[in-house]
Symmetry: D2
Subunit: 242 residues, 4 copies
Amino acid sequence: MRVTVWNEFQHETRGDERVLAHYPDGIHTVVADGLREVLGDAVQVRTATQPEPEHGLTEEVLAGTDVLMWWGHIRHAEVEDEVVERVLRHVHAGMGIVVLHSGHYSKVFTRLMGSTCSLRWRNEGERELVWTIDETHPIAEGVPNPIQIPQQEMYGEPFDIPAPHELVFVSSFAGGEVFRSGVTYRRGRGRVFYFSPGDQEYPVYHHPDVRRVLANGVRWARPRHERRTLTADPHPLGWFEG
Amino acid sequence: MRVTVWNEFQHETRGDERVLAHYPDGIHTVVADGLREVLGDAVQVRTATQPEPEHGLTEEVLAGTDVLMWWGHIRHAEVEDEVVERVLRHVHAGMGIVVLHSGHYSKVFTRLMGSTCSLRWRNEGERELVWTIDETHPIAEGVPNPIQIPQQEMYGEPFDIPAPHELVFVSSFAGGEVFRSGVTYRRGRGRVFYFSPGDQEYPVYHHPDVRRVLANGVRWARPRHERRTLTADPHPLGWFEG
Amino acid sequence: MRVTVWNEFQHETRGDERVLAHYPDGIHTVVADGLREVLGDAVQVRTATQPEPEHGLTEEVLAGTDVLMWWGHIRHAEVEDEVVERVLRHVHAGMGIVVLHSGHYSKVFTRLMGSTCSLRWRNEGERELVWTIDETHPIAEGVPNPIQIPQQEMYGEPFDIPAPHELVFVSSFAGGEVFRSGVTYRRGRGRVFYFSPGDQEYPVYHHPDVRRVLANGVRWARPRHERRTLTADPHPLGWFEG
Amino acid sequence: MRVTVWNEFQHETRGDERVLAHYPDGIHTVVADGLREVLGDAVQVRTATQPEPEHGLTEEVLAGTDVLMWWGHIRHAEVEDEVVERVLRHVHAGMGIVVLHSGHYSKVFTRLMGSTCSLRWRNEGERELVWTIDETHPIAEGVPNPIQIPQQEMYGEPFDIPAPHELVFVSSFAGGEVFRSGVTYRRGRGRVFYFSPGDQEYPVYHHPDVRRVLANGVRWARPRHERRTLTADPHPLGWFEG
């Protein structure tokens, strides 16, 4: 299983100290380490970042990626449309994608959803409890119910997403808000998992239960079939009788 | 619109003082008053209770009911199977049903769901916040987001229900738990709405926002078509060509 | 209720005789006439076409439109991105949209779906039977089950759309294929209905049952709330406690 | 993986010749052979029939069953309620179930669905085409799209089931009807797959593609977690903080 962890890599490179305290080499490196920690030899992880040419997501990279993870926050608008289209094309053809936290507002995720993906938010370092709704879902395997995250940015409903294929997690925050924090979708031949915990200011991607969820999410999103572009082809009468 | 509010009517008749403080004439009378308050002349409300013959739910009563509301708690097992079948038959033929709070464990609701409807719970009089997930849903019309209920029994996930047709409300509790507190289903030709706020020990059915939700729920669940029993009938080749 | 029927208006203006035989003044005029025939004074219908400036879909026109109907086929790529974004913004804010037939491949629809919307097809003038799956759905009101369309282009599964919110119609074709021909979605605050019958070469939009479905679809898709742009706003702790 | 194939075993034992021509030792033996043929050593198959004590479905048998397959037709009413409850209890706790053809009207399936499960039908030995809607679904793996069944009983919409979790197959029949012939559900911790092809009068369970679907269905429905009965337990404040 080949995973590419993508990061916009802005908070870190501009020297935001609260971010560097937890992610000195970038959020992507910590997410990647978490996958390796949980999945071991079952996974090959590489990383890619927005400042690289083509944002590090060339046709070759995507063709060699089973699951793409996406973290972005303050540079969504600068992601090139051509790369967005390329990512969408690969998802539709079968590549899995796991979108993280503020990636809800990325071009890629809003294009997959077809909605605004707006939400309520507040950054006060509140406790987040991540409740498993569907305890038999493979993404929830091996995590406590609830997962307890001591400090997090609050994301609250209404979250403008289409009704998910599967509602895996719902979070509550110390301030009282709730959020559908783990949701799955199918788009084309690809699987989509969105997981909201993970702000840049808190060590959320070091949290062992969060790492477990991300590893489960990657396993769940991996393609089971060959990648194939879907097209609208004509079919003569009786074509299947042959 | 003709509504029948059904109550098991046990807490009140056995003299439970905490219940009688809020519902001296029974929970059903307060729920019925709430519907009249919000819907006025648009609704005719009658009540029925478990101690009555046939639990007050004769064929005639159900045939004259557009929407049935169901409140039960400690006498689920004593509800006669024949009456349960009768209610299910009417729901399948088009009668709406609104199931309240501990009615999640009633024979009627578990039969409509096909699952156990189990949940976590705690009765400590905590604050419940009822968040609207889908702000355009007619059941959420005219209520604040969130509804604030000062004291409530906690109902928590995992709630063993089938994934709802529509997820309208999710609650959080002061203790941190979350719950899918407002969910809709279609069964046969009938509409089903489950709404969890409403314990017997707290004045929840006097709460103006809760009353609004119940009125909205009744309006949403009302049948738009003639009641009709669904059967499996043979159809000859070309029957539709006329 | 204010409806705008939009047509790419290419087959007609380039003089395609098989199209002009049924739609001498454009498909949009026949669709508009059908709405007026069924809905009478309950609807105000205007039309807009791709050759007009801004494709006839200025901010002013969309602001005054409750439901937009979309027919396009061979000029999808020429629809300006700015107009597409404008339409999406209005759908997300609450405008209803009814997408017709080959509009499945339009920028607007694929952007709302987040998938490729590819399908199988064949144009041999086969009989299409449109079966109602959910007989209580308001879009199916007053139409026979099945609707019989003597001649149609075949659209067949797999149709690459997200699992619909509601599956209203499934069609079969004389050649044996099946198609999810009537599906609903929610996107943002807006309602989306896709209905596949309606090729330019057959008089499908003159068919009384098809006209009934389109009128029902418009009624179903109309907004029930004020149009409102969804944004991600910060909320301080305790903002709702007032 | 331990599978129990259950058959009402009435058509065969009363000497219905058209049935015995294809199923001389009972439908269950042919279904069981099909599973062994496709799954080989990965599966242990046993059978149980309605005439046996407790219908062959003792607590011990169910406790040792990962997936139960259910075929019944003319003796649904004679299935003992106690056995039905036992089966439901095991499904809710995690046992998978695959319901076949006329099993749509069984007590077990209608209880899992909560609806009438009525449908249209005709037995004229028509060609059925089974179209895959979701080509990436594991139940559709390795089968042609469409599967062609030369002779079948027609089952037609409207099929009164709750909207499925996943719509895997839709069939068309030579006479023009359509049917959601492969649908999945989750109930409690258990997975449910209904597959309609398979009348007693036609050799459908000898068809290699149908056998593949049944084997896929069994694999999909198998439990991934320990069997566990869901109950409603009280939880004190802060129980999860440990």
